[in-house]
């Protein structure tokens, strides 16, 4: 398949129309000390995480815990959405936007740039605005690859920017 043909096959007009638009905005539940502790225990396993992630926190009468920069406050459930298995299919992004996904089966993370601002603390509510920046097609060893650049901008309840992540998803 030529690259031009691959572009036509993999990037529909509906997908082009998504470029630059905010696809999803949602807020997290307030971050709990338990969320921070469990995250830290998992990412440091099998060793103990630093003490600052596993202290008593505000609920224990101490200073609120501060989450690791890469902590995800949106895992599992968000207010107003019924807990449901995450869509881990290669077409999750387009299906979430209500359009037909590209005819590809596999997805891998090609890379990301994360910039951090205000730290995420116990009690914070984080809001995300997620958008597709662009779709492009590149030839890979196994055939055409669909590259999708997304942007996720997180702010806290005070309006401070917490994190901005630009990510490239590779689908094939």
């Amino acid at each position: 398949m030529t690259e031009a043909a691959a572009v036509d096959t993999l990037i529909s007009d509906e997908m082009r129309a998504l470029e630059g638009k905010v696809l999803r905005s949602r807020s997290s539940y307030p971050i709990s000390a338990s969320d921070i502790r469990k995250w830290a225990i998992a990412v440091y396993y099998p060793e103990s995480p630093p003490a600052r992630y596993v202290g008593a926190g505000a609920a224990g009468g101490e200073a609120p815990l501060v989450a690791p920069e890469e902590f995800n406050p949106f895992a599992w459930a968000t207010p107003g959405a019924k807990p449901a298995p995450a869509d881990v299919s290669a077409g999750f992004l387009e299906k979430g936007a209500g359009i037909a996904p590209p005819p590809l089966k596999f997805i891998v993370n090609g890379g990301s740039i994360s910039e951090y601002g205000a730290p995420m603390c116990e009690g914070d509510v984080i809001t995300t605005e997620f958008s597709v920046k662009s779709y492009t097609v590149k030839q890979g060893k196994r055939g055409p690859l669909l590259l999708t650049e997304t942007q996720d901008r997180w702010t806290n309840q005070k309006g401070e920017v917490v994190r901005t992540t630009t990510m490239t998803l590779i689908r094939y």
């Binding site: 998992a42 396993y45 920069e69 740039i113």
Partner: protein, 133 residues
Amino acid sequence: MPQLDLTPGAEIPTFTRKADLDAWNRYAAVNDEFVPIHMDDEAGREAGFPTAVGMGNLAFSYLHNLLRAWIGETGRIARISVQYRQPVLRKTTVTARGKIISAEGPRAELQIWIEDDGGRTLLEGQATVVVAA
């Protein structure tokens, strides 16, 4: 906290972990990331890999752990860019490493990467950190 060596070319202390399902399942549990290729060798093979493969997000956390241990509680990670070069395979040992590129005042730029015990570079990128004055 001892003064950090910000000399260009200086390497920072490494962060090493075994790559296998016990760590990946724990990460899946906190990040709700139950993807077949991260949990099942057959699913990994179907996707073209020799085994199940580790989460890129967990490796991303390892790079943060590397930097946090070096800068301490008073330092700050300002920016991290990574590119995923090869998948993390089961039953390997992965090591996160960093090397100073440049420093100006309390701000340092580092080359960061993760390699496995087979000499493969799995992730590589750059980080900007602000160390305690």
